[in-house]
């Protein structure tokens, strides 16, 4: 009797978890594995994937999402953050960086919104230079100070008050890679099935 009861308990416990997995992960994984990359989506270049790894290393994902919500759910559309994202947009993403926080704006189309390398570098050096009041951390270790810049160095022009004396500030390879990744974040190409209104439970 005790044995049977234990066995039922064991099976029940096992089944509940595996059912949940099958329903939420296993079956969707199977269904979505068919998805083809859209024509406009390019693979990450070597530099961009390197930049992506810096994005992960510095924990940008704890403050920025990479997913655009459809009209009628939040103000993503009104803020012109891009068309709603679809599973096909993410086929090259490993690990996924969808994010759960928007302390800062969504970055799924930041490259389309802000394509200036200078702006991004300045912002990464210290966000408050270009965005007063920002709570984003500064990333000065993506830059180095030099006596004089080499020909292929990317020099950033800081406001006078914080320019180091008799030195120039140039972006490191990491800083430039991260910027290349950000500028490459452009998912404005057309896709076939954009959910016009993802929200089926609520009528507006």
């Amino acid at each position: 009797m005790m044995f049977i009861r234990s066995f039922i308990f064991f099976l029940g416990v096992l089944a509940t978890l595996l059912l949940g997995w099958a329903g939420l992960v296993g079956i969707p994984n199977f269904m979505i594995s068919e998805v083809q990359p859209p024509k406009g989506l390019e693979r990450y270049t070597y530099e961009q994937s390197y930049g992506r790894s810096i994005y992960i290393r510095e924990g940008c994902l704890y403050c920025h999402s990479q997913q655009v919500r459809p009209a009628g759910f939040g103000a993503d559309q009104e803020r012109f953050w891009g068309r709603p994202s679809v599973p096909a947009d993410y086929v090259y993403d490993k690990p996924h960086l969808l994010g759960t926080m928007r302390t800062g704006p969504d970055l799924f189309n930041i490259g389309a919104r802000q394509s200036s390398e200078d702006w991004h570098l300045l912002h990464l050096y210290n966000p408050r230079i270009v965005s007063p009041g920002s709570v984003m951390p500064p990333f000065p270790w993506l830059f180095e100070e030099k006596i004089s810049a080499a020909p292929d160095d990317k020099v950033i022009v800081l406001p006078d008050s914080i320019t180091p004396r008799e030195k120039v500030v140039v972006a490191t390879r990491e800083g430039r890679a991260l910027t290349a990744y950000l500028i490459g974040m452009n998912h404005t190409y057309p896709v076939s099935q954009v959910p016009a209104h993802n929200d089926t439970t609520k009528k507006k």
Partner: protein, 492 residues
């Protein structure tokens, strides 16, 4: 003096003392003795991670208030210190302290000495190395890039291995049990021993890509709570509330209903973290339905716990354990209702992506789980260390710092987060307005966090005293107030 207060032994069993009960008590002492060293090891290292993790958490919080402070140090940037905080308190503190509590509870509830103690030592060592290694990696930026799965594979592997050794000892003890009836707490413990390793393995299959990896990520993230952390908390609440009050749990059948409903619904919840995202709508909807269904197990547990407590609130004046545990069980009810409501689309349209979620998470993991673990440790330690807590005043300080700290924390972030979400959804305002609006609330949050840290320091200090059996010698339990003797308490 002595006539005014009761001793610990008298308190444990109110009723008359027959010889059977005396030998029973003897047996209990032997059981407690068998777990002393491993449990102290789990608790001690767990509390170490708690203090370290709260420091990291406070630093991360202050980074919002003073973003340029320590801004030039890569190790201490927000994006690294935040996962350090989470992993330290979850896989360090809550898991290790929870494991310690489970060891003690299991041998008590099985009325058997703990078996395979060596496996527990191995487990604690592997586990701690895993956590330490993982945290160092995060400081250096080796992050797997998925929330709740940040630790590099080797660190996760060490922890998983540690878990298996731990589970082995628990299962062996269970098999040698001297009881017929399995108490509710044991169901949760045994289930979590099956669920957690399975969850970890399935999450690491490496077959996921793109958005399904996100689905897996949140299935795992939410389920770490569902199949490991919440069962620890509930096992503790189910044991300590009736134990300290001295009456049986209100209803066995509610316990049964609560358990199976919990098993059925909780692990379908995770995808609500991706509401509005690029996943098939039905998937999110399923999760929302399951999240709302959580009302059933939560109500069952809430009724069971609160009806056991009702009429005995007087005890909260005396018993530190009860005060922490009842606070925890009330938080469980609150956080679960909040979670069910939060999962609704119209609600998450505002709250998702904001500080509101952070407040909710802390109400769960701190207000519920950690408070129950504190209560459990205050109960267990005198019994296994054979030494009373030296300073009841410090326990009181710990309680109030933690209770007021977490209340401030949650209220601040829930309000601030709601305002943040409302402003974010108003396209007529610039985005930065939503950032600026949260600032005063983020200061209040840091204040709450500081209070919690002060509580933890008081707790850690006294924990060191009790394991070294130092501080003033006390012959009576460390009640908050002297307990008046009643008729029942008279020794035979």
């Amino acid at each position: 003096m002595a006539a005014q207060t009761t001793t610990k032994e008298q308190f444990i069993s109110f009723a008359s003392h027959t010889t059977e009960e005396v030998s029973e008590k003897q047996h209990r002492v032997e059981i407690d003795d068998s777990v002393t060293s491993p449990v102290v090891l789990y608790f001690l290292t767990g509390i170490g991670w708690l203090v370290f993790g709260s420091l990291a958490g406070l630093l991360a919080a202050l980074k919002f208030n003073l973003p340029d402070w320590l801004g030039g140090t890569p190790f201490l940037t927000f994006g690294r210190i935040r996962p350090v905080h989470l992993n330290s308190v979850m896989y360090g503190w809550a898991s290790l302290a929870g494991a310690g509590m489970i060891v003690w509870l299991t041998s008590r509830l099985c009325r058997a000495k703990i078996k395979e103690t060596w496996a527990l030592y191995v487990s604690a060592v592997l586990w701690n190395i895993g956590v330490a290694f993982g945290l160092v990696s995060l400081f250096f930026g080796y992050n797997q890039g998925m929330e709740w799965l940040e630790f590099p594979k080797p660190a996760g592997g060490l922890i998983a291995l540690g878990f298996l050794f731990f589970a082995y000892s628990i299962v062996q003890t269970f098999r040698k049990r001297q009881v017929e009836h399995l108490y509710v707490s044991l169901w949760y413990i045994l289930a979590s021993l099956i669920w957690f390793p399975l969850l970890y393995v399935v999450a690491n299959l490496g077959i996921y890509h793109g958005v399904t990896e996100a689905a897996m990520n949140w299935w795992f993230g939410h389920n770490a709570l569902a199949v490991w952390f919440t069962p620890i908390g509930l096992a503790g609440a189910y044991y300590f509330i009736p134990k300290v009050i001295g009456r049986p749990i209100y209803s066995y059948y509610l316990g049964l209903l609560g358990f199976w409903a919990f098993a059925l619904f909780y692990n379908w919840n995770g995808i609500h973290h991706l509401v509005g995202g690029p996943l098939p709508t039905w998937l999110v909807t399923v999760s929302i339905v399951a999240s709302v269904m959580m009302f059933v197990p939560v109500m069952a547990v809430a009724v069971n716990h609160h009806l056991t407590t009702i009429g005995h609130f007087r005890m909260l004046k005396y018993s530190p354990t009860l005060r922490f545990v009842v606070f925890g069980s009330m938080s469980y009810t609150a956080v679960s209702f909040q979670g069910s409501i939060e999962s609704l689309r119209s609600f998450s349209e505002v709250a998702h992506f904001t500080q509101y979620t952070i407040g909710h998470a802390h109400l769960g993991v701190y207000g519920f789980l950690s408070m129950i673990l504190f209560g459990a440790i205050y109960y267990i330690m005198p019994r296994i260390a054979k030494w009373e807590w030296p300073y009841p005043k410090l326990i009181k300080l710990h309680f109030w710092m933690s209770a007021v700290g977490i209340a401030l924390y949650v209220v601040a972030l829930n309000m601030g987060g709601w305002i943040q979400g409302t402003m974010m959804n108003d396209p007529s305002l610039p985005f930065i307005a939503s950032v600026n609006a949260t600032k005063p609330y983020l200061w209040a949050r840091s204040l709450g966090g500081t209070m919690m840290l002060v509580g933890h320091l008081a707790f850690a200090y006294q924990f060191l005293l009790i394991i070294y059996r130092s501080g003033p010698t006390r012959y009576v339990p460390a009640w908050f107030e002297l307990r008046k003797t009643t008729e029942e308490d008279k020794p035979v």
